[in-house]
């Protein structure tokens, strides 16, 4: 699948290092871990992630956990910070690391957020600790003369990550919680339209649970605002070989492919992801059961463009019911965190 959109820049640069843990901090419901990983820090661009091995050298947990990079700093030759919630034995083990422990870290992985050439009004939407990768992006956008507004949401106040930073660095920062314990009661999508109007948003960058990304994309499309969505699909390797983290994504040629979020993502143009079909194989996806290449034609050029989201999910084998509402909070995020 690689190379279909040109050689991904991300393919050229990751490092795998034995990092040294600098700090593990409790941040409300989450943990923030800073690791000295010079090779990773030096190459980082906002939106990229690290894949961390858990459990030590003799571990019975074979799969790496993928986490968005929250921040890199130049101290100690280069440090990387990521945010996680304890949701399984792997993340439990991570939370028990202490200063000077070593950690096998591969990164930075994946395609970063694309940055506009001109200054823009950018709205950064985060669900739960999906906000973690947005602050480094905000710095970059501001550095280009753009205005940055934040809209962060979660189930409760302790699950909103970075509210303070958002208020400090954003032109505006709107917070929503489902229980009303911080900011407005409700979900980010309840206030999205209002914030778009007030901030005169040109572009939205979003990270959070699938349901939230789907809702944000669909709302933004009504205002013709492009969305760059960072997905939290569960991964096994994070490096592009295992084919676990695939989503149905429409290519430039109009053909839907089961696309790896680790190497062709994790940032996708929101309108190209078939959110309603995530967790299924859409019938018109390249190579879907019953799909036939046209004889004598190159298979990937032969199909006609299909509008997104035609096939209702759930009709496909293995289709799962769609989430009724956008959810926020760690239970809804899938990447690395259920483990």
């Amino acid at each position: 699948m690689t190379g279909e959109r040109g050689e991904p820049a991300a393919l050229l640069t990751p490092a795998q290092v034995k990092g040294t843990v600098l700090t593990v901090r409790r941040v409300d419901a989450y943990y923030a871990m800073t690791v000295i990983a010079p090779g990773v820090a030096a190459r980082f661009r906002p939106g990229q992630f690290v894949a961390v091995a858990v459990g030590g050298p003799q571990t019975s947990m074979l799969l790496r956990r993928a986490f968005s990079i929250h921040e890199v700093r130049p101290d100690h030759g280069g440090t990387v910070e990521f945010v996680f919630a304890v949701a399984g034995p792997g993340t439990q083990w991570l939370s028990e690391r202490r200063t000077r422990d070593t950690l096998d870290v591969a990164g930075p992985l994946g395609r970063p957020f694309p940055l506009p050439r001109d200054p823009v009004n950018a709205l950064l939407v985060g669900g739960g600790y999906g906000s973690a990768p947005l602050f480094a992006l905000g710095d970059k956008l501001r550095g280009r003369g753009g205005a940055v507004d934040f809209l962060l949401g979660a189930a409760s106040a302790d699950r909103v990550f970075g509210a303070l930073t958002a208020r400090r660095t954003g032109r505006t920062a709107v917070i929503t919680t489902e229980d009303g314990s911080m900011g407005a009661r409700g979900q980010v999508t309840d206030l999205l339209a209002q914030v778009i109007h007030e901030a005169r948003t040109d572009v939205i960058y979003a990270c959070g649970p699938m349901g939230m990304l789907r809702a944000v994309t669909s709302l933004a499309s009504r205002y013709d605002i492009p969305v760059q969505a960072l997905v939290e699909e569960s991964m096994a390797c994070g490096t592009g070989v295992c084919m676990t983290c695939v989503l149905p994504v429409i290519g430039e040629d109009g053909v839907t492919r089961m696309t790896r979020s680790c190497i062709d993502g994790p940032v996708f143009r929101g309108d190209l992801v078939r959110w309603d079909d995530v967790g299924t194989i859409p019938f018109d996806a390249l190579g879907a059961p019953g799909w036939k290449p046209r004889p004598q034609a190159k298979p990937r050029l032969s199909a006609r463009p299909q509008p997104p989201g035609r096939q209702p999910a759930g009709k496909q084998p293995g289709g799962k019911p769609q989430p009724g509402r956008a959810r926020a909070g760690p239970a809804a995020g899938r990447r690395g965190h259920g483990r």
Binding site: T2, G3, T239, G240, M243, I281, A285, G287, K320
Partner: protein, 278 residues
């Protein structure tokens, strides 16, 4: 210190006995970011089919104790794209390519073999007759000596005479020696074992299967003793048939264990997910 690690895959010489296992290295391109793909014995590519294939729905992966279940379902670009893009890339990097092929019918395997015959630079062919992630278990040729032999015979007939054919076997059979014998008699130059074991996990929170495909293939160190047993049994019965051993190899000593059982070369699979430079 230079150590001579040259190894043989049937009549083909490799610089090292360590290979990647099919499905765990794509076509090498992603891993080239972490190590030099020309330095290992060969890259065994992810099984390629005639047509592009989307695979199974997600979630496709579940971690299990010292292992993982996968139900990828042979997602891949199809043989055309493979020959146009992936194989030339591997060769341009100086790597050797063992091409794994998979099909739903004997004719599909034969057609794939014919297509590979026209391509140059194929070090060997691994015939995947044992992928557990197909809709119909009856399609797993490696569960039946007759079916296995029919596929191997068809591939051997169509592939160039100097390209060795390896049959990839499933451990999920009553008598793996019988299947191995059928493949060897049908013309297989060697055997690859083992493929993943069919397994299943249920999420006790959601009370639903952990995989969208319900069942999946179990791999990782958890299955290493099964691999050692299969290799040992088959090597006892056919001491002259070269075996590519795989199943749970993570360290050099694991590889040695498979070789002691009778493998001539060893493939590393799931461990690559854990450590891409392993």
């Amino acid at each position: 210190m230079a150590v001579d690690l040259r190894s043989r895959l049937a009549h083909v010489e490799l610089p090292s006995p360590i290979l990647t296992a099919s499905g765990c290295a794509g076509a090498g391109r992603e891993l080239a970011r972490f190590f030099d793909v020309a330095k290992i014995g060969a890259v065994v590519t992810k099984s390629v089919m005639l047509a592009p294939r989307s695979g199974r729905p997600t979630p496709r992966m579940a971690e299990t104790p010292s292992g993982m279940l996968n139900s990828i379902g042979l997602q891949g670009p199809g043989i055309d794209a493979f020959l146009q893009r992936d194989l030339p890339w591997l060769l341009s990097r100086g790597a050797r390519a063992v091409v794994s092929i998979a099909g739903g019918t004997v004719d599909e395997y034969a057609e794939l073999a014919a297509r590979l015959s026209d391509a140059s630079g194929v070090t060997a062919v691994e015939v995947n007759i044992s992928c557990p992630n197909v809709e119909d278990r009856g399609q797993v040729f490696a569960c039946d000596p007759g079916g296995a032999a029919a596929v191997i015979e068809a591939v051997r007939a169509r592939i160039r005479y100097d390209v060795p054919v390896f049959a990839k076997l499933s451990p999920d059979v009553t008598d793996i020696v019988a299947i191995a014998g059928a493949c060897v008699r049908a013309g297989a130059d060697g055997l690859s074992m083992i493929n993943t074991l069919l397994g299943m996990a249920i999420d006790t929170k959601t009370l639903r299967p952990a995989l969208a495909g319900v069942t999946g293939g179990l791999s990782g160190p958890a299955i290493k003793p099964v691999a050692v047993r299969c290799i040992w049994q088959v090597h006892e019965a056919f001491p002259d048939v070269p075996i590519i051993g795989m199943g749970g190899v993570r360290t050099g000593l694991d590889a040695l264990e498979l070789m002691l059982a009778g493998a001539s070369t060893v493939s590393v699979g799931t461990a690559i997910f854990h450590d891409p430079s392993a």
